[in-house]
């Protein structure tokens, strides 16, 4: 059954086959050549595949069989919150009445969709402890970009033009500095302290009147809650900067603590993480951004407002940073998250975070005798271990990851955060049951033991997958990025 057909869809093409079904052209035909000057017209048709419907379905079905999703099994990819995606959300997002809507329809005939946007602003504001949320950003990184532009706009509106720096911890996600740079800031990294949190002294050193803001995820990428958060926010605010919250790790603290209360001024959420919308093999996601009151004027336009019982799109926002993306964001992703919140309720969200934290700590405890855990104390929804003991024997985090593949697991995130050697970042989420955790723990322990006994035996993994280890160097050195090119 496990035969892999290596052919590309192009390589299955046979001239003359068709897979489409289209209505006949029922209007009087026109001569295309007579309408368009010859030089406008294509000489050679694009070489799209010529295949029948069954070929399309089989091709992509086979491809799907070479892919691993959350429904395939455990997916403890740290920082990614790969929780189960409830099926009802998919069903609702597929309803014609939501999916088949043009964004520029008269609001009089899109009140249903506008209500979803309006309500989500309210829900997410409450969850974040913020005043207002824009749903426009398409993902976390774009949320960051949006937030940073708001920071810029805010300082500019106060004619505070010297604020050119954004501070990010060295444990931060790559999108943080990348977004800051794109938004026109200078990026300043601060090191983490011994305890894995922001080094307050180091922070103090870089804080001055050129600081526009600080970006922080809390719990941070080591899975630790920044205990000094109130002090940090005080310090940043004191020097006139704003605090940006990278909400990728919000799954630890829903209903337990709120970035707004911690002193953050801006925060994004990853609906495709915390709010259970599926990740689609890489997207689409959604990265709503919440702000405190004083920053509301700057958020992207339009904003959905309610006038009496009627929803309107408010474009008239003179201080707005403008648009970061077409229209109103990834609506159908927002809709799925809406459904999730409606079914979970306040208590459900809190329970989710609690269970996520319990599960992470359970794995941490069970593995502590086998792996080095740099910060081995109570963690939040994830923790980072180091395979350095194993690496000494020649078994790297990568090898461990590949061995997990053979045991039916998606491996944890590896080599992130950058501040931990041979990092493996494990985030089980709350949707996994204890048997799954136990089986994964057993696999990890078994690998650790084998790494001691027979390190070489672990180097050939994976063996049960459709392909074995792939040559990434070759791919980058002489890039082949498209068929026939």
């Amino acid at each position: 059954m496990k035969n892999r057909d290596e052919r590309l869809i192009f390589e299955k093409s046979v001239s003359g086959r068709i897979g489409y079904s289209l209505p006949k052209n029922d209007v009087p035909g026109i001569e295309i050549d007579s309408v368009f000057p010859k030089e406008m017209l294509r000489k050679a048709a694009p070489e799209l595949p010529e295949v029948s419907e069954v070929d399309v379905i089989r091709h992509y079905t086979k491809l799907s069989q070479q892919n691993y999703g959350v429904d395939s099994g455990f997916y403890p990819l740290g920082s990614c919150t790969m929780k189960y995606n409830p099926k009802i959300n998919e069903d609702i997002a597929s309803m014609d009445g939501f999916a088949q809507m043009h964004p520029l329809q008269n609001p009089i005939c899109s009140q249903g969709s506008l209500e979803i946007l309006y309500k989500m602003d309210q829900y997410l504001s409450e969850i974040l402890g913020m005043e207002k949320v824009t749903l426009q950003p398409a993902a976390g990184a774009q949320g960051e970009m949006t937030g940073l532009m708001i920071i810029k706009a805010y300082h500019m509106s106060r004619n505070d033009e010297k604020r050119v720096k954004i501070i990010v911890p060295d444990s931060s996600h790559g999108t943080n500095p990348a977004s800051a740079a794109l938004a026109g800031f200078e990026v300043v990294h601060v090191p983490s302290s011994e305890s894995g949190c922001v080094d307050i002294n180091a922070l103090k050193e870089v804080l001055d009147h050129t600081v526009a803001g600080l970006m922080l995820t809390n719990p941070n990428t080591l899975g630790l809650f920044e205990e000094d958060i109130l002090k940090i926010s005080q310090m940043v605010h004191d020097c006139g900067g704003l605090l940006y919250y990278d909400g990728a790790n919000m799954n630890a603290i829903m209903g337990i603590a709120r970035p707004g209360d911690m002193g953050f001024d801006i925060a994004h959420l990853n609906l495709h993480k915390t709010f259970s919308t599926p990740h689609g093999g890489g997207g689409p996601g959604s990265g709503p951004v919440g702000v405190v009151k004083k920053l509301i004027p700057f958020i992207p336009a339009p904003v959905v407002e309610k006038e009496d019982d009627y929803y309107v799109l408010d474009y008239d926002r003179p201080l707005s940073i403008g648009k970061v993306k077409s229209f109103y964001g990834n609506f159908s992703v927002v809709l799925k998250a809406y459904c999730y919140i409606r079914i979970m309720g306040a208590k459900g969200l809190k329970e989710a975070s609690t269970a996520a934290v319990l599960n992470a700590n359970y794995i941490r405890k069970m593995l502590e005798d086998y792996y080095d855990i740099p910060q081995n104390r109570i963690c939040m929804h994830e923790f980072v271990l180091s395979a350095k003991k194993q690496a000494e024997k020649g078994v790297t985090a990568l090898d461990i990851a590949k061995n997990l593949l053979d045991r039916g697991y998606h491996p944890p995130t590896i080599y992130f955060p950058l501040i931990v050697n041979e990092a493996m970042m494990i985030e089980p989420t709350e949707t996994e049951n204890l048997e799954t955790l136990d089986a994964f723990i057993d696999a990890m322990i078994d690998i650790a033991i084998r790494a001691g006994e027979d390190p070489q035996g672990l180097k050939n993994a994976p063996k049960t997958t459709y392909v074995s280890r792939l040559d990434e160097v070759k791919a980058a050195r002489s890039p082949k990025l498209a068929w026939g090119r």
Binding site: Q65, E90, C109, G174, F327, A355, K365
Partner: protein, 470 residues
Amino acid sequence: MLRSPYIPMTGEEQQKILDVVGVKSTEELFSAIPEELRLKEDLKLDEPISEYELKKQMQGLVEQNFDQSWSTCFLGAGVYDHIIPSTVKHITSRQEFYTSYTPYQPEISQGVLQATFEYQSMICELTGMDAANASLYDGAVALYEAVILASRYTNRNEVLVARSVNPEYRKVLSSGLKYSGIEIKEFGFYHKDKTDNDSDSSRTGMINQESLEELISENTAAIVVQSPNFFGIVEDIKTVAEKARNAGALSIAVCDPISLAILESPGSLGADIAVGEGQPLGLPMSFGGPLLGYFAVKKPLIRRMPGRIVGETVDSEGRRGFVLTLQAREQHIRREKATSNVCTNQALCALAASVYLSTMGKEGLKEVATQCINKSYYAYKSLVETGQVSKVFDSPFFREFVVRPEVSPQKLNEELLHDSIIGGYDLSGEYPELEGCWLVAVTEKRSMDEIDFFTGKVRNICQGGISVEE
């Protein structure tokens, strides 16, 4: 303990875990959070409801939406109501695709990786470019990224943008570039306005080459042109590309992918970068999102591209396989020096586009494009023949055209709603120079009957007849 179908932990298991972890209560787990930050009360959200109740409520909500399964859409302006073959949803709803993450572990991700490689290849075929990335958020963002690339590549800081580029794109561009040090200069299009005399060239709706020329300088990083432009009119990409090349700038073409089944590709016409919106390729309009930004370049720019890129390679046994590649460009490695901050993209939408393009195939896509032309021309002629709308431009167009009805577009659209027709785009707002003009899109999905009904209604409304529900 609250019980939820999404949280398997039982009370007993919770206790077991607490014991293993060595804490007494779940509260203790959170003791790192300062006491004053810990919420004392539940979040103020609506009361939870069950799956069935939710569905019922949502059915109530969609009744307030006019959706295109029963209304008839003549609205485009960047998002189009095309026929979506049944294959698309059947494939994208395979859990192996839609519930997976970005393919960081290639050995168990060949599905997404190969599909993305094929998507990139199809985009290259359509655009005539050498390489494409794995997707960006939407066409507007793709344009923004293209401009960033051009500015960094040329080390210049001015970008010349045609005013006939989709206003939504121009807005995203201008907010994105606000603090980037890159300046946007707009150049216009030929149209007839009050001061114009009725010369032929003044109403082509194509870019004004002279005003473009005036703007070109040694600061020009890129020239941006859209074709078909926002008015549906096919532009002369070739001349623009030449001008850019001569000025040491890059040319960026924003192209509709369906049109490329018939229209010459930006690659062949000399453009350096092609970007655009992939939504017409099998994605539902989804109230504007998710969309699909495609991004393709000529060879010299490959290592400058933003976003994920999939490349072909071999496994340890020499079998063909696919991986994320050229990662040294990306944020997780290069951090603030990355070509872009993109991490999560629109992978599933790219998959949908691939399934769409495979299903349509070489011939099918051409048929779609041909019907778009036939039907939009038919609608255009029919409308003009009513005597109630007048022509605005006189160049060849694709799928979409501008007319000036006797009644304001706003009023017209409102009236048409009574007949479940979503009318065209009112150009008055974004283009004061086209006050009272109406941008009408007609895809292959519209039947002759629907078009006739539509033109009939337009005639009636313009003639002052009141539309009555039939």
